[in-house]
């Protein structure tokens, strides 16, 4: 039996599945938050979700619009001050997975959320680093999720806001007390992982119905595919139901405010 689902849903479900039950996850707002909460509501009931607003072990019933929605504090185990969040919980090494989105990402998984163009004369000014620069280096590993497009997937980011593996893939070599960095990138087309040697992002799994050409067209460098390219498993009916209910609840809640 074949289910109907959108490529966005495919992305979210795949991203959610990456998160192991029981792990502690520092959650970025937007797509990462959607995926992390879907994980919590499906296979990972004991995943610990932490938002940079200080909400520790939170279980929002609807997705937050902002990183500090009241829902996050109301359903948290406790809420700590923001300096404590970054010092004790992130830098203190308590986070297994940092889950991030980004505006731009390059071949070596560096992230740009600062600007397009030149720093002093930006074409487009983006929001900036936020928590990402230290999430990416202080968390045990990093998952990244974003929609696949040539605008987003570039050969070299305009600005390295947040370290993937550096301009040359060696940015984490010999750095003490640093996490593994990005271990997977989940898009609406595929899953990519850094090559164990070169750290170049490689497509390891194609989503159902997606062709290599589509991925190549949406990627700003000559993207490589793993020798053993896998097919991403489809979402289950249960996952789709729960995701859709979550999004409906969210929309209802936010429309009312």
């Amino acid at each position: 039996m074949s289910l109907e689902y959108t490529s966005s849903e495919m992305m979210t479900v795949t991203a959610a599945r990456a998160l192991e039950n029981g792990s502690t996850c520092f959650v970025g707002i937007g797509l990462p938050s959607e995926a992390a909460n879907l994980a919590r509501l499906t296979h990972a009931p004991d995943v610990v979700l932490i938002y940079e607003s200080g909400t520790l072990q939170t279980k929002p019933n609807v997705l937050p619009l902002s990183i500090g929605d009241g829902e996050l504090a109301e359903t948290a185990l406790t809420t700590v001050a923001v300096p404590e969040m970054f010092r004790y919980w992130l830098q203190g090494g308590k986070i297994d997975v940092g889950f991030l989105g980004t505006a731009q990402i390059d071949k070596y998984c560096n992230l740009n959320t600062t600007l397009i163009g030149d720093y002093r004369e930006p074409k487009v000014r983006l929001p900036g680093g936020g928590g990402a620069p230290e999430i990416a280096t202080n968390a045990g590993e990093v998952f990244i999720t974003l929609k696949h497009s040539r605008r987003a997937f570039v050969d070299r980011v305009d600005f390295v806001t947040t370290l993937g593996f550096g301009r040359d893939g060696k940015g984490r070599d010999n750095v003490p007390n640093i996490g593994k960095g990005p271990t997977r990138v989940i898009t609406d087309l595929c899953v990519m992982k850094p090559d164990p040697e070169t750290k170049e992002l490689v497509v390891v799994s194609l989503h159902p119905g997606v062709t290599r050409e589509e991925v190549m067209d949406a990627t700003g460098w000559e993207v490589r595919f793993a020798d053993q390219l896998e097919a991403t498993p489809e979402p289950s009916e249960n996952e789709l139901t729960i995701l859709r209910e979550l999004k409906e609840r969210t929309e209802r809640a936010h429309a009312g405010q």
Partner: protein, 272 residues
């Protein structure tokens, strides 16, 4: 000792042209009423510090109050860009605004260090990021015990910090509850501080380890009911996510923005 002042008088007394001002509140408890009062009083050349500029600084920047913005994430949360911030940075409207940007971790540590009376904060940060190449206030030091290279940033020590909180008692002690952000740090790090509150009560009615800022650590307290709207006050009212979304269209256009400020800030007065 905190003085109870009207919001007008508190802003008039403590926010001087050219001052360094931190208006804090991490999504929660953003001091919008105070921000509007700063706009009404047409303060100029402010250096505005804030981890997440948010709509409040978009309004101040668009209204021409800011000379410089120090921040770590400047967006309309969950919605998109801060159009007034972008217009100022990209096109210099209403005038050029300088920016100095950090990461959240660095700014949070810088507020902590400011509250702790230190000149610098030390963190394991900015590894591999290009932010240090565009922010000369980020330096690196070597740990004298391990040799590890660590980031250092100057502490945040504003001339005046402005925060919003749930309530104060009659001695001026203030309860902050829920997402407390860096509000206490902002108040303690500043030379002067203004705290707006939803109400003044006889008894704060708190638990033993509540986040309470003593009155003697605050310069002025002003009652500003619903003073955090469109952000929220835990225990009092929710966030107007709708307004955050509507702001996108208002702020996108210079004239629409100016009209909105005229109608909703200048023409209303303190108790709007």
């Amino acid at each position: 000792m905190a003085e109870f002042l009207s919001l007008h008088d508190a802003v008039a007394r403590y926010v001087e042209d050219g001052a360094t001002v931190a208006m804090e509140g991490f999504t929660h408890l953003i001091p919008f009423a105070a921000g509007h009062e700063v706009i009404r009083q047409q303060k100029r050349d402010l250096t505005l510090i804030r981890m997440t500029p948010d709509i409040i600084y978009d309004q101040l920047i668009g209204a021409g109050c800011a000379r410089k913005v120090i921040f770590s994430w400047g967006g309309n949360p969950g919605v998109g860009s801060l159009h007034r911030l972008r217009d100022a940075v990209e096109k210099g409207w209403p005038h050029k605004v300088e920016i100095l940007e950090h990461s959240h971790a660095a700014m949070a540590c810088a507020f902590e260090a400011g509250a702790a009376g230190l000149p610098l904060a030390v963190l394991r940060g900015y590894v591999g990021s290009e932010l240090p190449s565009v922010n000369d206030q980020i330096k690196f030091i070597e740990c004298p015990f391990t040799g590890e290279r660590l980031a250092a940033v100057p502490s945040v020590r504003p001339d005046v910090s402005i925060v919003h909180a749930q309530r104060a008692d009659r001695q001026g002690n203030v309860l902050v509850e829920g997402i407390v952000g860096v509000q206490k740090e902002a108040v303690l790090a500043a030379r002067h501080s203004i705290v707006t509150v939803e109400e003044i009560v006889d008894d704060l009615d708190t638990h033993p380890n509540a986040c309470v800022i003593p009155g003697w650590a605050i310069s002025a307290i002003a009652v500003a009911e619903k003073g955090a709207l469109p952000s929220y006050t835990h225990g009092y009212y929710g966030r107007s996510n709708r307004f955050y979304k509507e702001w996108d269209a208002i702020a996108r256009d210079r004239d629409t923005f100016t009209r909105w400020i005229d109608e909703n800030v200048h023409q209303t007065g303190e108790n709007a």
